[in-house]
């Protein structure tokens, strides 16, 4: 249905008047809504941003729709009647609308029933036009003008409000728009938030670097842990400003002076910027500070000669020279020893001064316990730790030196076999002595034959003795013969060489020597076998763990590797164990048997039984006892009592057991003598200290203080320090200071130091006097001071003499007892030296010489002490003590065995019967006593001040403590 002409006319007139005001009102309203949306979005939360976005979309939609409708406005009768006629004349418009509806119905019927008459429609159209024309064009335009006026008012209002808000809160609107367009919590357009931004970078304290200032928009390389302090003045109030690196943010807080401050710690490379937070959204400033984080690098460690591979057997000592360098500072340097799963770290140095470069050296002996218990290749390296407290200390590691181990027990085996061979070489002179002389044709021929036999005996004996001495001195891959054993053997050899007699008698002596050595070697072999067995027990445990790992299923390869290596080491070690005497042979053969089980299970991929067998072997080897009891020769279960074999095994020969016992007793007595003498020395020292204490100290102190005052008064007019050196004033000032020092010493009752100060003061006064010829403005003071100082020096010397005399008198009484004791101890030393020359308990010559020298010194000391000459006596005592300690026999076992034995004792187990052929570990207690005695001496000396012969040492010690 088409609009009639009159209706079109009126619609056109309406739109001509109203279109522009309506558009103005619409756009003003939309603008206002847009501003509202921006302000809403500025809150930054998800909901508000969604609401604002929806509002903006609605505004846009409405704008588009308005434009579209405006462009495509048609003349549909009903709509035009409602829009134009009804707004012009409401009654007329209602009537027209009714007619429109009628016309629409009629039109519809005409469509559905084309044959029907359209007469009604024609009539209705006529009526409609007539009705429309009742609303004149002027009326329509008038009504349109009234409405246009309303639109103008509304549009103006909206425009005014929008303009006002836009002017008043333009920043917020911009922020809101920025927030509205944010993606991932970051607004797209940066904005400035602060002015006068100052960034202070303070590196971590351990770097000891000064703070520096960073410029906004710059790039800076900063150590990790650097603290940044950002100070700024905010451009706008009520903004929540933060400093952010994109991941972390730190809020600005008020600095109390109208500014803001924030702190930030550098952790990694970041772009640092100031930003404002709106809800979930950040709006950053345009110029970030680019920060490059400098990590604290691990120390670089260099080990001379590394990487390298060395055979442990060929090594007697491994010198490790290293240097370590860090970019900031070093805290600690360790020597790291690794073998298999074992790791041992030894601190080579700790550095508090945190210097960045250190160098040093360390010597690793082949007899080091770690190396001696080695059965897998060892990696030796130096590791250094830096001082980084921020990211945690980092270790730098040097290249490694690989030590290929000898088989477990190989060195012990080498040593034992060498000693056994050396022992067996004594059988040759015995065999020579057993030779029967050929029937001689004459007496002379008989004598010549006997002499020849004697000569051969002597030559063989000397050769054997030299061979044995060489075997005693030899180093077996760094392993040496223990001092106790060595001294025992050397003592016996010394006596044997010095012995005179018939061939038979000397042969008998050689037999005794052989038996003695035999017993000692058996003990050595037993100890070595026990030690090696325990180490092999650890290897067996390694095999056990390897088999366990191999059962894990998922990754059996490392376990298998471990098992195979352990089996290899076990086989090699067990083979070495076999040579270590009867116990070693026994345990070694047991180990090989059990190792056969482990290997059999390994070959069958039966890890479970390999583990069980290895565990059994480990337990067995950790219990190094004979398979069948030490003394059993047969079972009691059945049969005869076993073989009638006499227990003639090594170590049970006639005489040698007694010889060992006597040597053992002698060694213990020497150690005991050294200990007793140390106690006597301590007693004398204490007596002398007690004798030095001045009597009536209160009266003396009072007088000394009085004299100190007089000295100060006497020198107070002398020139003050600060004059040019070499001038009389400088010398006089020096005299003044020395005199004041004397006064101070007097107040402290240190008369010896006071006398020294006085002498220095007099010397300086004399110098000032000599240099000051012709300059007499303080000549009088010099003379006066000199007189006073000399007077007080005389008094001090007098006091010292009196004190020394009194101390000597007191000491004479106190030292009578120690003198008698010293004399007694000297007698003991003489007896021990004599016993050291006897065959049964022979000692090396150097030991007996030391004992005799000590005895003489002790006698001198006793005489000095008896005369009351305490200091002199004490000096002799100290010399004697050093000799006595030098005569100490040392341990019969290897250096690291004592500790193992102590550990064994702690376990409450006494493994084996021959662990200590020369008795218990007496020297250890002695060492303890010495350490305690030294500690007491040092503490007392520190309390008394640095006096006496040990004063420099005490001073160095005290300085060391302070360091």
């Amino acid at each position: 249905m088409q609009a009639s002409f009159s209706l079109r006319q009126r619609a056109t007139a309406w739109r001509e008047v109203l279109s522009r005001p309506a558009r103005f009102a619409r756009y003003a309203g939309l603008g206002l809504v847009g501003v509202g949306c921006a302000l809403l979005a500025r809150r930054g939360t998800s909901w508000t941003r969604a609401g604002a976005a929806a509002g903006v979309l609605v505004v846009l939609l409405l704008a588009v729709l308005g434009w579209w409708f405006e462009r495509h406005a048609g003349f549909e009768p009903g709509r035009v009647v409602r829009q134009v006629i009804r707004r012009t004349d409401r009654v007329l418009g209602e009537q027209a609308l009714r007619l429109v509806r009628l016309m629409q119905r009629l039109t519809g019927e005409l469509v559905t029933a084309p044959g029907s008459s359209n007469q009604g429609l024609t009539f209705a159209t006529f009526q409609f036009d007539k009705l429309i024309e009742k609303a004149s064009l002027e009326r329509v335009r008038g009504a349109a003008r009234r409405r246009a006026q309303l639109y103008r008012w509304v549009g103006a209002g909206c425009a005014l409000v929008a303009l006002a808000v836009g002017v008043w809160r333009s920043r917020e609107i911009v922020e809101g728009v920025d927030v509205l367009w944010a993606r991932g919590g970051r607004a797209p357009w940066p904005l400035f938030w602060a002015e006068q931004l100052r960034v202070q970078a303070q590196p971590p304290a351990y770097l000891r670097a000064p703070a520096r200032r960073l410029l906004s928009g710059s790039a800076a390389m900063l150590p990790i842990g650097t603290q940044l302090t950002l100070r700024a003045r905010p451009l706008y109030a009520d903004r929540q400003l933060v400093v952010t690196d994109g991941v972390h943010e730190t809020p600005f807080v008020s600095d109390g002076e109208g500014g803001l401050v924030a702190h930030y710690e550098v952790e990694q490379d970041r772009a640092l910027t100031v930003a404002a937070r709106f809800g979930d959204v950040l709006i950053a400033e345009p110029d970030p500070i680019q920060i490059v984080a400098l990590a604290d690098a691990a120390p670089v460690v260099s080990l001379d000669g590394a990487p390298a591979t060395q055979q442990l057997r060929e090594l007697s000592r491994l010198e490790l020279r290293w240097w370590a360098q860090d970019d900031h500072g070093l805290r600690q340097v360790d020597l790291v020893l690794r073998s298999g799963n074992r790791e041992e770290r030894r601190v080579l140095g700790t550095y508090d001064d945190e210097s960045a470069r250190q160098r040093g050296g360390h010597v690793l002996s082949a007899s080091d316990p770690f190396l001696r218990s080695l059965y897998l290749p060892a990696q030796i390296s130096i590791e250094a730790r830096d001082n980084d407290p921020v990211g945690g200390s980092k270790w730098g590691k040097s290249a490694i030196i690989t030590l290929l181990p000898t088989a477990v027990g190989e060195l012990e085996g080498l040593r034992y076999l060498a000693l056994v061979r050396a022992r067996d070489s004594f059988m040759e002179p015995i065999a020579v002595s057993a030779e029967s002389l050929p029937p001689a044709s004459s007496k002379a021929a008989g004598k010549a034959a006997a002499a020849e036999l004697q000569q051969r005996f002597n030559a063989r004996l000397e050769s054997a003795a030299q061979g044995f001495e060489q075997a005693l001195e030899e180093s077996y891959g760094g392993l040496r013969v223990a001092p106790g054993l060595r001294n025992f053997a050397l003592g016996r050899l010394r006596v044997l060489r010095a012995e005179k007699g018939s061939l038979a008698e000397r042969s008998r002596s050689v037999e005794d020597l052989v038996l003695g050595l035999d017993g000692v070697l058996m003990s050595l072999a037993q100890r070595d076998a026990q030690r090696v067995s325990k180490i092999l027990g650890n290897v067996a445990e390694e095999a056990m763990v390897g088999a366990q790992q191999a059962q894990s299923g998922e990754a059996p390869a490392p376990g298998l590797d471990r098992l195979d290596k352990a089996i290899y080491a076990l086989a090699a070690g067990a083979a070495q164990l076999l040579v270590l005497g009867s116990l070693g042979n026994d345990i070694g053969s047991v180990a090989l048997a059990d190792l056969g089980r482990v290997s059999r299970a390994r070959a069958n991929s039966d890890w479970y039984h390999a583990e069980l067998a290895a565990r059994h072997l480990a337990e067995r080897l950790h219990r190094p006892r004979p398979s069948f009891g030490a003394s059993s020769s047969g079972g009691v279960e059945a049969g005869q009592s076993g073989s009638s074999e006499p227990q003639s095994g090594p170590g049970q020969g006639q005489g040698e057991g007694q010889g060992q016992k006597e040597f053992d007793e002698l060694a213990q007595q020497i150690t005991e003598l050294a200990r007793q003498h140390a106690a006597a020395l301590e007693q004398v020292d204490q007596a002398l200290s007690g004798a030095r204490a001045p009597p009536d100290a209160a009266a003396l102190r009072e007088e000394a203080e009085q004299r100190a005052k007089e000295i100060r008064q006497a020198v107070q007019d002398l020139p003050e320090p600060g004059n040019s050196p070499g001038t009389p004033e400088a010398a006089a000032a020096l005299a003044r200071e020395n005199a004041r020092g004397m006064a101070h010493d007097l107040e402290s009752m240190k008369f010896e130091q006071a006398a020294d100060s006085a002498r220095r003061a007099l010397g300086a006064l004399a110098e000032a006097r000599a240099k000051g010829t012709g300059q007499s403005y303080f000549q009088g003071q010099l003379d006066g001071a000199k007189a006073r100082v000399e007077e007080h020096l005389r008094w001090v010397q007098q006091q010292l003499e009196q004190q020394q005399k009194a101390a000597r008198e007191r000491a004479r009484g106190l030292l009578q007892g120690p003198s008698a004791l010293e004399d007694e101890l000297a007698g003991k030393a003489r007896d021990l030296a004599q016993r050291g020359d006897e065959r049964a308990s022979a000692l090396p010559g150097e030991i007996t010489d030391r004992l005799r020298q000590a005895e003489q010194l002790m006698q001198q000391a006793a005489r000095e002490l008896g005369r009351g000459e305490g200091e002199a006596g004490l000096a002799r005592q100290r010399e004697a003590q050093r000799l006595l300690e030098g005569a100490d026999q040392g341990k019969p076992e290897d250096p690291d065995e004592g500790q193992e034995q102590q550990e064994g004792a702690q376990d409450g187990k006494n493994e084996g019967s021959g662990g200590a052929p020369f008795g218990g570990d007496v020297p250890a207690a002695e060492r303890q006593n010495k350490a305690e005695e030294f500690r007491r001496r040092v503490i007392r000396s520190l309390g008394e001040g640095p006096v006496g012969r040990l004063a420099p040492a005490v001073k160095r010690y005290a300085e060391g403590l302070l360091r």
Binding site: A434, E511, S582, S589, A593, H609, E637
Partner: protein, 562 residues
């Protein structure tokens, strides 16, 4: 058809049926039905009752297949007895049967313990360990068994097992190097088993299980004997858990009489089987000691009356241990001397008892002991012989006091002790190949102790090495000159006899030597030793017997003690 019409029709049909004249037969049928129902209920109640009784209040639904077994009561005591008597086949059957039967918690626990025991009895320590792993270790018996199974599994893991099926001997060798000794072990075990059968009337199980271990540590681990006790008394074998655990002769540097020891332990097994382990200790040890030499012909130094002599001396000197004062085991006595006296006393006592009562009475005693419900054997003793133990002890001591003291052969006590120092020097000289000097040394020592078999052996050895064969044989002397057996002496004796063509004597000497120290090269190689008595080691004569050859080769490979 509607429901209502259907209902009406049913009523009509029921009315028609009611009108039929068959009332009496219906009643009888109903009665039969009731009877059948009652029978079924009764059977059901009976079944429930059986199940309640069978499972001790634990009702379960039994399948028809298991009904015969369900009606059979569970007798774990029978299983335990079968294990103790080493009836492995029956024990396995019972264990299998009870394993599939539903049991109470207590029964299941007990069954697990018995299965673990069975594992130990058949030498399967792994399965015993696994069985016990599931049981709580708080219980003393379980903890003890678990510890034993653990140590046994470790000591026997991957050991070499050799079985002689024909003779029914099963050997497990911890040290595979002991394999050449197996034929000798089997021979001794077979003969000793036969002797036990003949003398005691007890058939030892087949296979007879023997564990040969390498040291006392393993002996303790396999047998459960405390290690300290084994070391104190020098125990070399243990018969426990249905097996003999024997220390390998190579464990001792100079060997030990392993053959008689094995026979001794087999007697223990036989007695345990015959008496269901109710034989008291004095009976066990006394009979074992009595029987240990009866499996073989007499040998030198078999002192039949030595036990009476030692017991008499102990009784008179107050060092007697006492038949009834042996403690838990002779191996756990405080010293080897005490153990030795105890062995002699119980042997003398048993000899006396059998002499007084006869062998038949002894077999009856064994049968009586088997039925004992408690450990006290006095009831059985009184029942068989009329006296209890203390009364027999008194009678034996009385007899012992009346016996004339038996003096040992003069050579056994004459002479002094060897000078050990001189012997050692001689050994070193011999090892250093100073044969003449060594021979002089030993000759001088022999003059001081001419009865010492060890010294005679050494002197002979040194002379032989020096090439003086005649003098060597002279130095060796005769059996009558010796104070005791020495493996080396018999080995050289065998060599000399063989070289003289006296094959029988050589064989006897060689066997004697073998019984003392089979792993001595001199013994295994029939009097020849590499580097000493055989000259060129590549020209050493090997034994003719193939078995002995293997033994000799292995003995030569044995590492030397330095």
């Amino acid at each position: 058809m509607s429901v209502r019409s259907w209902f009406a029709r049913g009523r009509i049909q029921r009315g028609a049926a009611r009108s039929r004249p068959r009332r009496g037969s219906t009643r009888s049928r109903r009665r039969r039905v009731w009877r059948a129902l009652a029978l079924l209920v009764a059977l059901g109640l009976f079944g429930v009752g059986v199940a309640l009784w069978r499972f001790q209040g634990r009702p379960a639904a039994a399948t028809l297949q298991s009904l015969p077994e369900l009606l059979r009561p569970v007798d774990l005591e029978a299983l335990s007895n079968a294990i103790t008597e080493m009836d492995v086949t029956r024990a396995r059957q019972l264990a299998e049967q009870y394993q599939h039967a539903p049991l109470s918690v207590a029964q299941s626990h007990r069954l697990s313990i018995e299965r673990a025991r069975l594992g130990l009895y058949v030498g399967d320590c792994d399965s015993a360990r696994a069985t016990l792993a599931g049981l709580p270790l708080e219980e003393g018996e379980v903890a003890g068994l678990a510890q034993l199974a653990e140590s046994c599994a470790g000591a026997t893991a991957a050991s070499l097992v050799v079985e002689d099926r024909a003779r029914g001997i099963w050997l497990r060798l911890q040290d595979a190097d002991d394999e050449p000794l197996v034929p000798y072990l089997v021979e001794v075990a077979d003969k000793a088993r036969e002797a036990v059968r003949v003398d005691l009337g007890v058939d030892l199980p087949r296979p007879l299980r023997i564990d040969v271990v390498r040291d006392l540590f393993s002996l303790s681990g396999v047998s459960g004997l405390p290690l300290e006790a084994a070391e104190t008394t020098g125990t070399v074998a243990v018969a426990r858990w249905g097996r003999v655990t024997l220390l390998s002769p190579r464990a001792s540097r100079h060997g030990y009489p392993w053959q008689d020891t094995l026979a001794h332990e087999l007697v223990h097994l036989g007695l345990s089987r015959a008496t269901r382990d109710f034989a008291p200790l004095w009976l066990q040890e006394g009979v074992a000691k009595r029987q240990e030499q009866r499996w073989r012909p007499p040998r030198p130094f078999d002192e039949v009356d030595a036990h009476d002599r030692i017991a008499q001396r102990a009784l008179l000197t107050g060092t007697s241990v006492g038949v009834d004062n042996l403690g838990p085991s002779i191996a756990m006595l405080p010293s080897a001397d005490a153990a030795s006296i105890a062995f002699s006393e119980v042997t003398s006592f048993i000899n006396f008892w059998i002499r007084e009562n006869g062998r038949a009475a002894f077999r009856l005693l064994l049968q009586d002991l088997k039925g004992l419900a408690q450990r006290d054997p006095n009831e059985a003793l009184r029942g068989v012989s009329g006296y209890n133990l203390s009364e027999w002890n008194l009678r034996w001591q009385t007899w012992l006091r009346t016996v004339q003291p038996v003096t040992p052969p003069p050579s056994r006590i004459a002479g002094g002790s060897p000078e050990l120092g001189r012997v050692r020097v001689g050994d070193l000289l011999l090892r250093g190949q100073y044969y003449d000097a060594a021979a002089r040394n030993f000759a001088a020592a022999l003059a001081h102790a001419p009865q010492s078999s060890a010294l005679r052996f050494r002197a002979s050895e040194a002379d032989l090495a020096a090439g003086r064969a005649a003098l060597a044989e002279e130095r060796l002397g005769e059996l009558e000159d010796l104070d005791g057996p020495h493996a080396g002496w018999f080995a050289l004796r065998g060599r000399f006899d063989a070289e003289a063509g006296n094959t029988e004597a050589a064989e006897a000497a060689s066997t004697m030597a073998l019984s003392l120290d089979p792993w001595s090269e001199l013994v295994a190689c029939e009097g020849h030793q590499s580097g000493l008595l055989g000259g060129d080691p590549w020209q050493l004569p090997d034994p003719k017997d193939a078995t002995r050859q293997k033994l000799c080769a292995m003995a030569r490979a044995r590492p030397q003690v330095h």
